[in-house]
């Protein structure tokens, strides 16, 4: 599986220019040029990739085709046949989703006195959190401040972010790092206790904290262990297929599906926290993705059906460096930390074409331009294009062994396929990574729908139209904690009316009025990668 002769020939050119490039970095892209590159090459601007929604709170808004079909889909539930009298579980706070946001929310809700159930579609911890490699931002160094962090985040989001959401993000950041460390997360530090921090794309200070290149995994496994130690009820392989309302127009619970038996169950809850993550497994515009198996935008569908407004849903984040070779790991994440440590992006001739640490949208668009317009990409045996990420530079710049120590997951990943990234560059191309937008929230994680709280990737507004590296692990912990606390406090005062699924009847009516007769049943729950040569039996 190592490189083909054609690729090796290009690698020789990369090696030939390396010495010179160690001394020179491609200049930053000027603001005007950034806009131009985005408009011409970023997938968000591809006309055919989006359509207008015809029903719901975001009627008329431009939305990716794949998501629009799900948002305008039908329920899994037959409203007339579903018995709301049989309540299977009851709790104060129902947390939907077992990633970093859900786990943080569950912990804080319990600390604030709530009896909590956490339900999740796959295993607890099967989430994009687990796969986040690069790090978490927090302005805790003397040369940095929350204000500078704020400015970086706003600029990265092209000044579209909701200011008070960014304020909460940057002001809570240092205390969140302390909270994680208090739970036992191992951040990389100097012997004197100083946090080791590096740059990410679009940062003006080195404020990326990390735990080798298992940053998200370290956070996730610690939070998960703590939830288990606190003996919070956990339901696995139990995705939510519909939210339940009450006669007073409040969210009042959810219907779960047991993925293994096919049984539905009903949870009655005083408040609900949606922490279902993103949707890149919808493979917008056919892109591969870095996301985990369950990232199918379920939370957006569920929230939309109870009338929640979505924001920035027409913008997805394409991570500049997804693996482009070998085919077996196509689209999997090559962490931004590789560039943070000094690796440059170069074309088939071994020449730089972009500053290595632009914001992700600009960096991705520049790679697409280099391949599609400049025709200076490297083409693999399967026809996949890519550019080189010159990883061996890191050990030359920072000393032998730096790559192995700082990027063990990456070295292992490529090593499994016969590629030694400490000695050879790796081939990369943009891959679908993150849902920039989501359900509109307030700084306490609440929404316009009574008793519905939203945290993490499924929420929108914190990042505007583009998220910076390291602000997602931060968002899930900051907003998971905020939503957990707020939902627990709200649960103390909630009085629920009778449970109802009237909102689903209303949804059917809206679909009819828009002359839609969707065949799609949503939420999707799992992508289907199976291959069948004939129609499949209904027994399955």
């Amino acid at each position: 599986m190592s490189y083909t002769p054609e690729m090796r020939e290009s690698i020789r050119k990369v090696e030939a220019t390396r010495r010179r490039r160690l001394e020179e970095t491609h200049p930053r892209t000027l603001p005007k040029e950034q806009e131009e590159i985005l408009k011409r090459f970023h997938p968000d601007y591809v006309e055919g990739g989006m359509r207008e929604l015809l029903v719901g709170p975001n009627r008329g808004d431009r939305t990716p085709n794949e998501l629009a079909d799900l948002l305008e889909g039908r329920s899994h539930i037959d409203v007339a046949a579903f018995d709301l009298g049989q309540v299977d579980y009851e709790c104060d706070v129902l947390v939907i989703g077992g990633g970093g946001a859900g786990a943080s929310a569950a912990l804080l809700a319990q600390e604030n006195g709530a009896q909590v159930i956490l339900t999740t579609k796959l295993r607890f911890g099967d989430a994009n959190t687990m796969m986040a490699q690069g790090g978490i931002q927090a302005a805790d160094k003397p040369n940095d401040s929350p204000a500078i962090h704020y400015l970086d985040a706003m600029g990265g989001g092209h000044f579209t972010n909701v200011p008070k959401l960014v304020e909460a993000l940057v002001m809570d950041a240092p205390s969140v790092i302390q909270w994680l460390e208090d739970l036992g997360c191992m951040f990389d530090k100097e012997p004197d206790g100083t946090m080791r921090t590096i740059h990410g794309g679009g940062t003006s200070r080195k404020r990326m904290h990390f735990a080798r290149d298992y940053s998200g995994a370290e956070i996730m496994r610690t939070l998960r262990d703590e939830v288990r130690n606190r003996q919070i009820s956990i339901l696995e392989f139990a995705p939510v297929v519909e939210l339940v309302m009450d006669s007073r127009g409040q969210v009042a619970g959810a219907i779960l599906l047991n993925l293994e038996t096919g049984d539905y169950s009903l949870v009655k809850a005083k408040t609900v926290i949606m922490a279902t993550g993103g949707g890149a497994r919808l493979h917008y515009q056919g892109f591969p993705t870095t996301n985990h198996y369950g990232a199918t935008a379920d939370g957006l569908v569920l929230a939309y059906r109870v009338g929640a407004k979505l924001v920035f849903i027409d913008t997805m984040q394409y991570h500049p460096t997804g693996a482009a070779y070998p085919e077996q790991i196509l689209g999997q994440l090559v962490t931004e930390k590789v560039r943070g440590l000094g690796a440059q992006l170069v074309n088939v001739e071994g020449e730089q074409f972009v500053y290595p640490l632009e914001t992700r949208d600009v960096e991705s668009a520049a790679i697409i331009r280099e391949c599609v317009e400049q025709k200076k990409g490297v083409v693999t045996t399967t026809g996949q294009q890519g550019v080189w990420l010159d990883s061996p530079m890191i050990d030359i710049l920072k000393g032998p062994g730096t790559i192995q120590t700082n990027l063990p997951a990456m070295v292992r990943q490529f090593g499994r396929f016969g590629i030694d990234m400490t000695r050879e560059p790796v081939l990369v191309y943009p891959t679908l990574h993150y849902q920039n937008g989501g359900v509109a929230i307030k700084p306490d994680g609440s929404t316009d729908i009574p008793n519905l709280y939203v945290a993490g990737e499924v929420a929108g507004g914190v990042h505007g139209r583009n998220r910076l590296m390291g602000n997602s692990l931060l968002e899930i912990t900051v907003y998971g904690r905020r939503a957990g606390k707020a939902a627990a406090l709200r649960a103390e005062e909630v009085e629920l009316g009778g449970l109802t699924l009237e909102h689903l009847r209303d949804w059917e009516r809206q679909l009819r009025e828009a002359n839609l007769e969707p065949q799609t049943v949503s939420p999707l729950l799992l992508p289907d990668y199976t291959r069948h040569t004939r129609p499949v039996s209904k027994v399955m």
Binding site: M130, K141, L151, A217, D225
Partner: protein, 226 residues
């Protein structure tokens, strides 16, 4: 150009699949819709631990289904869940001492040092080594050596002493992170500054700026050298 198909045996049943696929993609190509046994699909979550052997060879091998390419005559089974012991504890009440470790997981001392765990690790972690460190009560060493663990459970599945290696390691990492790692002075200071309201005025000012002004501030900001 049709790709070469090779025979593999999924839980004993034969399928012909393209030779370049990972085990996970081969199962899907064969028609399996995965519910258990698939998570991150990138080698980070441990959901797709797989045990396999090649026909005619007694030797059992291990791998992550999402990171291992199929081989001809591969007999495979996934181990998506293994009922490993997980002790319940209050991290606030613990001390980072060897005695604490043995109290929470007394079976640590049953380790036979046979090395089966190390052979079973898809992350190539020296599991036996860190278990030996655990027996010595060296929490810092366990924490460091086990750091890349994805908690797939294969070590526990193969262990004759019925150890919960990944959970012992997790406990050590949490003890290390909370009690033994050097404290970060700058972090505490910054939290105090924030709580004292030192940044409130500047944040309020930034929040009230129009896009033009904010953009100018952004473009003029100084950038810490790499």
């Amino acid at each position: 150009m049709a790709e070469k198909l090779i025979p593999i045996y999924i839980t004993g049943k034969k399928y012909e699949v393209p030779s370049s696929l990972t085990i996970m993609k081969a199962m899907e190509w064969a028609g399996y819709k995965l519910i258990r046994g698939a998570g991150c699909r990138s080698g980070f979550c441990g959901a797709c631990a797989t045990v396999y052997r090649i026909k005619g060879n007694y030797r059992l091998r291990i791998g992550l289904a999402c990171q291992t390419v199929v081989e001809p005559e591969m007999y495979l089974a996934q181990i998506p869940f293994f009922p490993v012991e997980k002790a319940i504890y209050d991290i606030e009440e613990l001390k980072p001492t060897p005695e604490q470790l043995f109290q929470i997981y007394p079976e640590i001392l049953r380790c036979l040092s046979c090395g089966t765990c190390t052979k079973a690790c898809p992350q190539e972690i020296e599991v036996m080594d860190y278990m030996a460190d655990a027996m010595k009560g060296d929490i810092a060493s366990v924490a460091s050596k086990s750091f890349d663990c994805i908690m797939c459970g294969l070590c526990a599945a193969r262990c004759p002493a019925e150890e919960a290696q990944s959970n012992v390691a997790l406990l050590c990492r949490r003890l290390y992170g909370k009690y033994l790692a050097p404290k970060s002075q700058h972090l505490w200071e910054r939290i105090e500054e924030i709580e004292a309201g030192n940044f409130d005025e500047e944040l309020a000012q930034l929040k009230s700026m129009g896009e033009e002004e904010l953009r100018q501030r952004y473009e003029e900001r100084d950038i810490e050298p790499a």
